[in-house]
């Protein structure tokens, strides 16, 4: 029986959501291929991890050693290379995360295995791999095939496959670490938490998210006004932080904060997947964008296809009126 590997991703003692998405993806493929899904866990003091992973895969391969306490691409690569060489899985699934960015291409090159990154959908038939991925700033999708080979390594984009409950009975297998130490040429030093700002956007009920469409730093004040009129807090997408218009702690998205407000109003945000990843679980999403094809409208509950500078003042007045009538 062939094996499919899915790598467990954890950080600071917590298993990351991508892990369950990888397991879901792996179970679907394993069922179709009549294969066995193996969750591969490299970690230290892994007991709680093991509890959390029961039922996720047919087999849980655990390598418990202090050297895996924190993620180090080089240590992980040396270890996984040994295991993959020995066990020959037909497919190894890794998250397309900061962890996967660092690990997948070099691991695959080291092993001489075909690989690709940032997959949205993965299909395996007759040992051939076909994947769907996005190109050109997410404006187009592509079908990509891989060179035929007994083994492949792929990374899966976060949020592309919703995690489902596992129902498998998981056999746990513990093995010794095939490497003895973190390499001296790359050493993990520490994690640095993002500086805590005055505002915690993860705690707000209403978030006003602004993006490239606000055009000018001078318009931030206008947006602040609107946010306070609505009783919300200003958040933003990456370009606004890169431009230095708002501090990093206001950034929503995969490299910023994940938020779940009761209401998210996206103003001039086109909806790059990295941003979507941070706000898609909001209770309600309203998007204002001039481009009717902006991907944000695929996530929003309500959309207005118009210039945000026309919408915002009218909406603000209406809300102020309402509040005054009440007050």
């Amino acid at each position: 029986m062939v094996d499919i590997f899915a790598l467990v991703e954890h950080r600071q003692g917590v298993i990351r959501d991508i892990t369950y998405e990888l397991m879901t993806c792996g179970r679907t493929l394993a069922e179709k291929q009549n294969a066995k899904l193996t969750a591969v866990l490299l970690g230290y003091n892994t007991d709680t991890f093991i509890d959390n992973l029961k039922s996720q895969a047919h087999r849980l391969l655990v390598i418990d050693n202090e050297i895996y306490k924190e993620f180090n691409a080089e240590t992980y690569q040396m270890t996984l290379a040994e295991i993959i060489k020995k066990q020959n899985p037909m497919l190894t699934l890794i998250g397309h995360t900061a962890f996967g960015y660092d690990l997948c291409p070099s691991l695959a090159v080291h092993l001489g295995i075909p690989f690709t990154t940032d997959c949205l959908e993965i299909d395996v038939a007759d040992h051939k791999v076909k994947i769907t991925r996005q190109l050109f700033d997410g404006k187009l999708n592509a079908h990509v095939s891989l060179r035929e080979n007994p083994s492949y390594i792929l990374t899966l984009r976060s949020g592309s496959i919703p995690a489902q409950e596992g129902t498998l009975s998981t056999e746990i297998e513990k093995i010794e670490a095939p490497v003895s130490a973190e390499p001296d040429y790359r050493k993990f030093i520490e994690y640095i938490e993002a500086a805590v700002g005055e505002v915690d956007i993860t705690k707000a009920d209403i978030l006003i998210g602004i993006g490239r469409g606000i055009k000018d730093q001078a318009n931030i004040a206008l947006m602040e006004d609107f946010a306070s009129a609505v009783g919300g807090v200003l958040a933003c997408s990456r370009p606004i932080v890169d431009a230095g218009w708002l501090p990093k702690d206001r950034q929503v998205g995969s490299s910023g904060k994940t938020v779940k407000p009761k209401l998210y109003i996206a103003l001039g945000i086109s909806g790059a997947f990295q941003h979507i990843a941070g706000m898609k679980n909001s209770d309600a999403i309203i998007a204002v964008n001039k481009d009717p094809n902006a991907p944000i409208f695929n996530e929003a509950d309500y959309g207005i296809v118009d210039d945000l500078f026309k919408v915002v003042p009218v909406l603000k007045n209406k809300i102020v009126e309402l509040k005054q009538a009440k007050g």
Binding site: K215, D216, Q217, A218, K290, D291, V305, D307, F309, K310
Partner: protein, 380 residues
């Protein structure tokens, strides 16, 4: 024959476009509203060498040719017409006459200051009662010992309110008519020199357009540019050159208006379809784009004539300036039309571009004057 930009022109275009989109676009609507002079951006442009594009390196400039100056002014004006003319004036109306007609000391003293943005330049020809008819100017200068004593008023002077170095024209001998006009380099802190009214203009509103008032202003003798009586020649030659970049400014404004109109026409729907699908709109686009390209080629050609060292290119630069101004006003007007009522609102960029475009037909010689120059070349 070769229509390709050179490697350095391509790079200049790329970097100026990026700069304009990132740094000028955000402030362009604000300074249009407030009339505030964009010093922050002027300083950034000085650092990049945009204030002395045509000045050789030995005088602190960037050492590019006039086609390159036109490319830069087009890119800047596409985003902000005010900034475009500020740069054009510093280059071709101030640095150029000093470079072309100044002596070595004058060049060494003034050009580096103009290039570094330490002092901006302005040019004083126009007077309250002398516009197209330059020789009707009333300003006079008389030599008294080591100084010329300058009297008169100059009006509608771009950059005037913020400049430090002025190239000013006045009669040193009225009897010689236009051959009695002389040119002076005047510094801002000259005794007897003050600024008058700040003009509240319809367009290019952030250009510190002011009156210059000279009341027995004492100009050191050594600040005479070339010889006494050379003023008219300097004036005409300088305008021949500067019309190249006013043409470029026109092309930039027109291109900006077309870009806005195309974008809007894809977003705006009427009768169930985007308005860009309507043939009447498409017809306008075809005309606009063709005319812009024709104007751009005229501008490049005028620049090419100057760069090639042709002794006279008055006709070529007049054609470039006349045609580009004409179509810029037309293109901006059509861009407003395509926007419908929104185009008449200050919420949309085309409203500003339409106001900015109108000046093109008026300054550096009205369109009528350009036609006279062109026609004279045919029938003289």
């Amino acid at each position: 024959m070769n229509f390709d930009l050179t490697n350095d022109q391509k790079m200049l275009q790329n970097q100026v476009r990026k700069f304009a989109e990132a740094e000028l676009a955000p402030v362009a609507p604000e300074i249009d509203k407030s009339g505030e002079f964009p010093w922050d951006n002027i300083k950034k442009m000085a650092k990049l060498g945009l204030l002395g594009i045509i000045v050789p390196e030995e005088y602190g400039g960037s050492g590019f040719d006039f086609v390159s100056l036109a490319i830069a002014v087009e890119e800047i004006s596409r985003i902000c017409a005010s900034t475009g003319v500020i740069v054009a004036v510093n280059n071709s109306l101030t640095a150029y006459p000093i470079l072309q007609f100044g002596n070595e000391e004058q060049k060494k003293k003034y050009l580096p200051q103009l290039c570094s943005g330490e002092k901006l330049g302005a040019l004083g020809i126009t007077e309250p009662n002398a516009g197209s008819d330059v020789a009707a100017m009333e300003s006079t200068a008389r030599l008294e010992g080591d100084h010329y004593i300058l009297n008169g008023t100059k009006r509608f002077i771009t950059n005037a309110g913020e400049a430090g170095i002025y190239v000013v024209f006045a009669y040193t001998n009225r009897e010689l008519k236009h051959k009695g006009i002389s040119t002076f380099i005047v510094e801002r802190d000259t005794p007897g020199f003050s600024l008058g009214k700040h003009e509240d203009l319809m367009g290019i509103r952030a250009t510190a357009n002011c009156e210059l008032i000279f009341e027995d202003a004492k100009i050191p003798k050594e600040n005479l540019l070339a010889q006494e009586g050379d003023g008219f020649k300097i004036c005409m030659n300088t305008l021949d050159v500067s019309r190249i970049d006013i043409g470029a400014q026109a092309v930039g404004i027109a291109q900006g208006a077309l870009d806005e109109a195309v974008k809007y026409s894809k977003e705006r729907k009427a009768f169930g379809q985007p308005i860009c699908d309507f043939e009447m709109i498409q017809s306008m686009f075809a005309e606009m784009a063709t005319k812009i390209q024709a104007a751009r080629l005229l501008v490049y050609y005028a620049g090419y004539c100057k760069d090639k060292g042709m002794p006279r290119f008055s006709k070529e630069s007049a054609m470039a300036k006349y045609y580009a101004s004409d179509i810029a006003v037309e293109v901006a007007r059509k861009a407003v039309q395509i926007h419908g009522g929104y185009g008449y609102s200050k919420d949309y960029t085309v409203e500003r571009l339409y106001r900015d475009a109108k000046i093109l037909e008026l300054y550096e010689g009205t369109s009528e004057i350009q036609k006279i120059i062109i026609a004279r070349d045919l029938v003289k």
